[in-house]
């Protein structure tokens, strides 16, 4: 067991928790039973391999009695007040020690409980507190990753692809082509940046519930397309910590796609094209592709509430853009006149005006054309705006789930796409709040050992993640088994004949 838990970590994190009464004697215990302890920890580690449900020392437990060693460390967890210091090394250390779900994280990337190259050849990139980016980090096991996180307390971790060789050995391979990315999840990034030209409620890095609705709409449209059209099952949506969301499509089929297939998926999903000077951004042909038809049905109601009522994008002078999108010059002029005379008219009324003015005879084109133009406008204002450059290449880095956003302190938690509407980015727990929650937690059930994250409001998110990972692992396992079975079946037949 070259990578077994070293006695050091084991005794620091695990044993005081399991045997709190001994913790005061730790100095005396240190030498004599060390053999036994080492064996113990090796055993624990073995059990871990078999995905036992017991605690494996991955999460520190409540540790009601602090060992001297821990107590002597600066007890940052108790003195959190300064909100600007979310990425403070002490906060980070406590976060990685007590909250980050390394175990499920490991299983998620490893696609099995037994450590494999899926995890070991995966690139991690750490951004350290001095903004230095360390690329090509890799770890054989979750434990080593955890140790490193606790030691370096990186405020941000990005995840790259799985490489053909261990990323740490990339400079020792003979040919450059022996080190290349082989697989990674298909990822999407939706960022509020892209909505700046139609967002009226906030600007820059700020968000509110009103503009979060853009992200919610995007999640719904993209999620259903990935599942129903492409047949992917394991799509993990993650809050990016401030004002966006990421999607990780983890199906084996998605992971193994090459760049051209990734581009194809993006092409399929992309509707809005052209920069600010390109004029009309939506150019789709009729009849609408079933994907667009479905998206339009999803987006229609959001258009009424989010766009017309809340964002009110065409108030006052801003109506010019709306007018530009109407193909009929006669109608355009009639509307212009009407709106000029009542400058305070809200967007919802203006939208309704289009039809009423058209009905009153100011329409020179067919009503079908007008309907299509209106559909295009709905799409322009609601259809997802994906950041295409993140997902088209295998080797792009994307921020890991569950890390802390350094500016907001919020955890990058998963979003359940089935209840995307209920997700409120402003109520996502902050790291400092969570650490306080652990400390104020009152022990209720003494019998059952409980892990630190379970005492906090992070619990539902980790539970969701755990179920997600379990589903993924189950399918991977079945696939593997299925493959083996079929082979055996073939052999059996061959032998019979």
């Amino acid at each position: 067991m070259p990578h077994s838990v070293t006695p050091e970590t084991a005794s620091a994190d695990e044993h005081p928790a399991i045997k709190p009464e001994q913790s005061t004697q730790d100095v005396a215990m240190d030498d004599a039973p060390s053999l036994g302890e080492a064996e113990d920890s090796a055993k624990v580690n073995l059990e871990e391999l078999f995905d036992d449900d017991d605690s494996d020392g991955e999460f520190a437990s409540s540790a009601p009695v602090k060992s001297e060693e821990e107590a002597s460390q600066p007890a940052a967890t108790f003195k959190i007040s300064d909100k600007s210091q979310y990425s403070d090394p002490d906060v980070m250390r406590a976060f990685y020690q007590r909250l980050f779900p390394f175990r499920y994280f490991f299983q998620w990337l490893n696609h099995s409980a037994v450590p494999s190259t899926d995890f070991a050849h995966r690139e991690f990139a750490f951004t350290l507190s001095n903004d230095v980016l360390q690329r090509y980090q890799s770890f054989p096991t979750a434990d080593l990753l955890r140790k490193r996180c606790i030691a370096d307390t990186p405020p941000r971790i990005d995840i790259g692809p799985i490489y053909s060789t261990n990323p740490r050995d990339r400079k020792t391979v003979r040919k450059a082509s022996a080190f290349r990315p082989v697989s990674r999840e298909l990822v999407f990034d939706i960022d509020m940046d892209a909505y700046d030209d139609i967002r009226t409620c906030c600007t820059g890095a700020n968000i509110c519930q009103k503009c979060w609705a853009f992200i919610t709409m995007s999640i719904k449209v993209v999620d259903v397309a990935l599942r129903e059209d492409f047949g992917f099952k394991h799509v993990l949506w993650v809050y990016s910590g401030r004002r966006g969301a990421h999607a990780w499509v983890c199906d084996k089929r998605a992971r193994e796609m090459d760049d051209s297939k990734r581009r194809a998926v993006y092409g399929y999903l992309e509707v809005l094209k052209g920069g600010d000077q390109g004029g009309k951004k939506v150019n789709v042909w009729r009849p609408l592709h079933p994907h667009l038809e479905r998206s339009l049905n999803i987006l229609k109601e959001h258009f009424q509430t989010t766009i017309l009522a809340e964002q009110d994008p065409w108030a006052g002078e801003n109506a010019a853009h709306l007018l530009n999108l109407i193909p009929d010059t006669k109608l355009r002029e009639a509307l212009q006149k009407k709106w000029d005379s009542s400058p305070g008219r809200p967007s919802a009324s203006k939208w309704a005006d289009i039809d009423s003015v058209a009905k009153s005879g100011a329409l020179s084109k067919s009503s079908k054309e007008l309907l299509e133009a209106k559909q295009d406008i709905v799409l322009e204002y609601t259809y997802p705006r994906l950041d295409a450059d993140v997902g088209k290449k295998l080797n792009h880095l994307l921020k890991s789930p569950f890390v802390v956003h350094p500016a907001t302190g919020r955890i990058c938690v998963p979003i359940d796409p089935r209840n995307a509407e209920d997700f409120d980015p402003l109520s996502v727990p902050k790291v400092t709040e969570l650490l306080v929650e652990i400390d104020t937690w009152k022990e209720e059930d003494v019998e059952k050992k409980i892990q630190d994250w379970e005492k906090t409001s992070l619990k539902p998110y980790i539970d969701y993640f755990r179920v997600f990972v379990a589903g993924l692992l189950k399918e991977e396992k079945e696939k593997e088994k299925g493959g083996v079975k079929r082979e055996r079946g073939d052999n059996g037949e061959a032998m019979e004949f």
Partner: protein, 503 residues
């Protein structure tokens, strides 16, 4: 799905690689019989050819391929490419259909076959060459496939044994409307449909031209081009990979190797190369950050647009920044000055934010930081028109790219008028060019208009050679030439002063 090699080739014609006997014993140096015009190039040629034939056939095919590449650089549509290529193909690589009653069909097909394999040898050595070769061969194949006689094409496809699952009647009835909507067909004409994994038709998926359900693509029979072409590329890529591995063991005296080496060399990227000499402009002293505003008068429209956007918003998005930084690097702005330029331009930004989020990228573009390869190569090369024209269109809020391509005609006209192009004829010409997607022609037209007098002058004097006035295909060339023309005979204020286009 696809039945693999073992059953695809008629057993008598299979290329046996049994080193004990068969490939030496039987039928190896025989002529192959080419039944079809099209060829998937699965069997290598086995008959003898003279060295001269070897070379000329290869060179002829190479000519065709480089013309194809030129078409793809110029963003020509499929129809335009086909039209343009007809005469070239007839000259260098004729290939007639069975019905044409040509006399030497077999000979033509043999040349096509042999030249393909010769070039395979020449272009399998590096990843880069393989990629380009396979890309161009695919274009060529698609071109021929489209033009082939429909009946012969069907025959050919049948020999390929591509197995596609047909959509059953029930499913067809159920999904009919959706399938038709997906391919954009309004009329309800009956046709056959196939069901394949969507990964096999990425092109159709990417353009949203096909119905997807649970990972399966419902492809109309007439879209089989896409499927066949995808299959062609896939097999060719695999084969090239194998060829590359076999190359070192090529049992060869020194007759072929020099020819092959020569072939692959003459195929080096015709991409408008940027050379560092472009940065050295006689008479233009070291540029500093403050001079950019003045110099921007000599910038091509893409860079002027970036510059004006930058001045208007005090910000540019990432790709705009990258495109502009590299251009500035190309005109000779030093790293230090470049950082100063951006720092001053981002007026509304704090120093801290600038240093944290922007400075690194600038330094990276100059090769001051980053991986070993980046540093050694002194960062990225300034983008050529080809690069700018083929990258993804800008999204909302982005301003990179070529305005001739990314702007609507109205906005483009407005922009041109803002930078001083008022001549109606020129504007109309630009509109026509843009409609035909000849963006670089439009740009050169504007250049010639803006430098009309100077060009006339140097032509009259004969001080500039024809190559000095060649079509511009690089923004940095545009700047260099523009600056030189506007500063002809420096010191002679009469020439330079009066006729600035910007006024």
């Amino acid at each position: 799905m696809i039945r693999h090699d073992y059953s695809r080739v008629d057993p008598k014609r299979r290329a046996y690689i049994d080193h004990k006997k068969r490939q030496f014993a039987k039928a190896e140096f025989a002529q192959q019989n080419y039944e079809h015009r099209l060829n998937f190039y699965t069997l290598p040629p086995t008959a003898e050819v003279t060295l001269e034939e070897f070379e000329t056939w290869a060179i002829n095919r190479l000519k065709v391929l480089s013309e194809l590449e030129a078409c793809s650089f110029r963003n020509r549509s499929q129809e335009e490419t086909a039209e343009y290529m007809t005469s070239i193909l007839n000259k260098y690589l004729p290939l007639r259909s069975n019905s044409s009653r040509g006399t030497n069909l077999q000979e033509e097909r043999k040349r096509d076959h042999y030249s393909h394999f010769i070039l395979r040898l020449a272009f399998s050595s590096t990843e880069e060459l393989r990629r380009r070769f396979s890309h161009l061969e695919t274009i060529l194949f698609r071109l021929r496939f489209r033009e082939d006689d429909p009946r012969e094409r069907q025959d050919f496809v049948r020999t390929l044994d591509l197995e596609w699952e047909e959509v059953g009647e029930d499913e067809k009835r159920e999904l009919r409307d959706q399938m038709l909507a997906a391919i954009g067909s309004k009329k309800g004409e009956e046709q056959d449909w196939f069901k394949v994994d969507w990964e096999r038709v990425p092109e159709l998926v990417s353009q949203r031209k096909v119905l997807l359900k649970r990972g399966m693509a419902y492809v109309p029979a007439r879209e089989q081009t896409s499927l066949v072409v995808a299959e062609f590329t896939k097999r060719l890529d695999e084969q090239l990979e194998l060829t590359a591995r076999a190359l070192p063991r090529l049992d060869e005296d020194d007759r072929l190797a020099p020819i092959l080496a020569h072939l692959s060399q003459s195929f080096t990227a015709p991409e408008a190369a940027y050379s560092s000499s472009d940065a050295n402009i006689d008479g233009l002293s070291a540029i500093n950050a403050g001079a950019i505003d003045t110099l921007s008068q000599n910038f091509p429209l893409c860079m002027q647009n970036l510059h004006m956007t930058l001045r208007a918003n005090s910000h540019l998005k990432h790709y705009g920044r990258l495109q502009y930084t590299l251009f500035l690097k190309g005109i000779g702005l030093s790293l230090e000055e470049c950082i100063i330029f951006w720092r001053r331009s981002f007026k509304l930004m704090t120093d801290d934010k600038f240093h944290k989020e922007y400075k690194y990228n600038i330094r990276h573009s100059y090769g001051d930081v980053g991986g070993d390869a980046n540093r050694r190569g002194r960062g990225y090369t300034p983008y050529s028109c080809q690069k700018i024209l083929t990258e993804a269109l800008p999204g909302p809020g982005q301003t990179h790219g070529c305005p001739y391509r990314t702007f609507t005609v109205e906005n483009l006209t407005g922009l041109l008028q803002r930078v001083g192009v008022q001549d109606r004829e020129v504007l109309q010409g630009v509109r026509d060019d843009v409609k035909k997607q000849r963006y670089h022609v439009a740009c050169n037209r504007v250049f010639e208009h803006a430098h009309k007098k100077e060009i006339k002058k140097v032509k009259d004097e004969g001080s500039w050679s024809a190559t000095d006035l060649d079509t511009i295909v690089h923004p940095n060339t545009y700047f260099k030439r523009s600056w030189l023309l506007k500063h002809l005979g420096e010191g002679n204020a009469g020439v330079v002063g009066g006729d600035r286009m910007e006024e």
